[in-house]
């Protein structure tokens, strides 16, 4: 049963090949037996999952929707009522969410069963899942390597077939990069497409929820269920949500693909580049045309991000004060000591680094030079994309410069770690939808192809990914050994 797509599970449940309770029981057994090697889950909600699965089986007798009884894991950044919601941090190790995030609520209303909460970089700050208070997550393709981050637990759980799908969030690449490194599909929708209500904030002008799945078709099914306006998120966009799955299968004849010259420089692993080139050939074979284009300011996207994101993070994380919820230091001398020690003890090194970077760039005398300057460059980067999308329909290229690296390889130098997201960050700065699909292997490790679209054209990039997956079988490859 594990290894099936959401679409396949939905069909099998309807055909009574197995019940939701049987499927959930099987996946819980796999999680119990295999997750010790991966550390993909922070919390497993087994009892509640089985109970919900039995209710779903009853609902399926009467009908139910396309996702009724289908299991999913949620990144531990999403609030889940009555269930620990840690955001990968000691700060929230004692936090039980009092309400559900809109994403969690909508997927449950669609009939989905939550298996548990997945591990992640602390407060989603990281590209390797090594900053989690709960320890690093390991990549099922090679346990000595990282699964990427920050949605590393979600990526590892789906890649190891412990969950058929998982939610994630993407502020600078945190869905697409782990999807690439774990050999699965991951989509970050347009900014504002999916509600951020109940999703613990990191950088509010960049954060967006999405999903990690085995196929583009599955991503389309989930995105249709979770998208749409939510009055509880003031940046949620009030735009119609198409049935993304119904739009799949359209011909790519005449599709204009842009290849970003700046993404094919020396930083890209040559074997990775070869896989991208082969993928482009497949798309050309389906009738698309490829043209090179330049995004002149894209080289500044990583430094822009590392001003804007820490600035927003320092503001958002000021809510953790040791008073209302979260970690509280013992025996504080006075209020300042309570704040400082609760925060000093509750946050890990990377989070403190980013809070301090943000505090610095927002401080008097530096605000114009760093923060406002970065907001101006951000405008240039977004304008580059707008100009490019006048000439092409989608932009295609690598998701990550290299396949999965070894644990510990980049922890000493934050800037080296930050450069992992060089191809994905610009997409967040411009608020565009982007996804990653598996497009080959380098030394036995998966590599990803990134497909970026115009704002609100998730349907188009999902269709390109779907057509690609109909012609290739990279997405169907699974890690062997214990995970088979």
């Amino acid at each position: 049963m594990h290894g099936m797509t959401l679409a396949g599970i939905a069909r099998a449940l309807r055909a009574r090949e197995f019940s939701s309770a049987e499927l959930v029981q099987h996946l819980l057994e796999r999680i119990g037996r295999l997750d010790g090697q991966l550390n993909a889950f922070i919390t497993v909600t087994g009892e509640a999952a089985l109970e919900a699965a039995r209710a779903a089986d009853a609902a399926l007798v009467k009908g139910g929707g396309p996702l009724t009884g289908v299991p999913i894991a949620h990144k531990d950044i999403f609030c889940t009522a009555g269930v620990k919601t840690s955001c990968g941090s000691r700060m929230l190790d004692n936090f039980t969410a009092p309400y559900d995030a809109t994403v969690v609520e909508r997927l449950r209303d669609a009939g989905m069963i939550m298996l548990g909460k997945t591990n992640m970089d602390e407060f989603a700050m990281g590209s390797s899942n090594e900053t989690s208070f709960y320890g690093p997550v390991r990549n099922p393709w090679d346990l000595a390597r990282v699964p990427g981050g920050s949605s590393g637990g979600s990526a590892a759980a789906v890649a190891a077939r412990l969950a058929p799908a998982a939610t994630g969030t993407d502020t600078g690449g945190s869905i697409r990069q782990p999807a690439a490194l774990a050999g699965i599909t991951g989509i970050k929708p347009t900014y504002g497409r999916v509600s951020r209500y109940g999703m613990i904030a990191f950088a509010s002008s960049l954060d967006q929820a999405g999903v990690l799945t085995l196929t583009a078709e599955d991503a389309a099914l989930l995105l249709t269920a979770m998208s749409g306006h939510d009055a509880r998120d003031s940046t949620s966009v009030d735009a119609p949500v198409p049935d993304f799955a119904a739009g799949l299968g359209e011909s790519l004849k005449g599709l204009k693909i842009g290849l970003v010259e700046e993404f094919l420089d020396d930083g890209l692993d040559p074997a990775n580049a070869a896989a991208i080139e082969a993928a482009l050939k497949v798309l050309e074979g389906l009738g698309a045309t490829v043209q090179r284009l330049s995004l002149p300011s894209i080289g500044l996207s990583v430094p822009t991000y590392y001003v804007v994101a820490p600035a927003e993070c320092s503001s958002n994380l000021s809510r953790f004060d040791g008073v209302r919820f979260g970690h509280r230091a013992a025996e504080p001398r006075d209020l300042e000591d309570l704040y400082k020690r609760s925060r000093g003890e509750g946050f890990g090194t990377e989070v403190k680094r980013r809070i301090m970077t943000g505090t610095y760039v927002l401080s008097a005398g530096y605000y114009d030079a760093y923060y406002l300057k970065a907001q101006r460059v951000r405008q240039l980067i977004a304008a580059d994309f707008r100009r490019a999308f006048e000439a092409v329909d989608v932009i295609v290229g690598p998701t990550s410069p290299t396949p999965a690296f070894e644990l510990g390889a980049k922890v000493d130098d934050p800037v080296t770690m930050y450069l992992n997201d060089i191809y994905t960050i610009g997409v967040n700065l411009a608020g565009l939808p982007g996804l990653s699909v598996p497009c080959g292997f380098v030394d036995g490790l998966p590599v990803g192809l990134q497909i970026v679209g115009r704002a609100f054209e998730e349907g188009r990039i999902l269709n390109v990914a779907h057509r690609f997956q109909q012609e290739t079988d990279w997405h169907a490859r699974a890690p062997g050994g214990a995970f088979a």
Binding site: R353, A382, N428
Partner: protein, 95 residues
């Protein structure tokens, strides 16, 4: 640009973060590297460019000024470590 030990201590104070004495040199090194890295932005020509406040340059919606939230204080205070009579307890501020 190399930040000084004093600058890092003052940033940590502004951010209300307790940093131990032996961690300070690590943050001096890391933050200096990060600030060096983001200084590339200086060279960009942004004359006349409006700073971006929203990725799709949208504005915030307005709604009627009416109460929409129910009182859930008791539920929310279940996550607090020190509460009395519905109030959050903190160390004495005024002697």
């Amino acid at each position: 640009m190399k930040l000084s030990r004093h600058e890092v201590e003052s940033i940590a104070h502004l951010a209300r973060l307790e940093i131990s004495a032996d961690e300070i040199p690590v943050y001096v090194d890391n933050l200096s590297r990060i600030i060096d890295f983001v200084q590339q932005l200086e060279a960009a020509d942004t004359e006349g460019v409006t700073p971006m406040a929203h990725p799709l340059n949208m504005t915030q919606p307005l709604r009627d000024d009416i109460v929409t939230e129910a009182d859930q204080r008791a539920l929310y205070q279940q996550n607090a470590q020190a509460v009395e009579s519905g109030l959050y307890l903190v160390p004495r501020v005024i002697e």
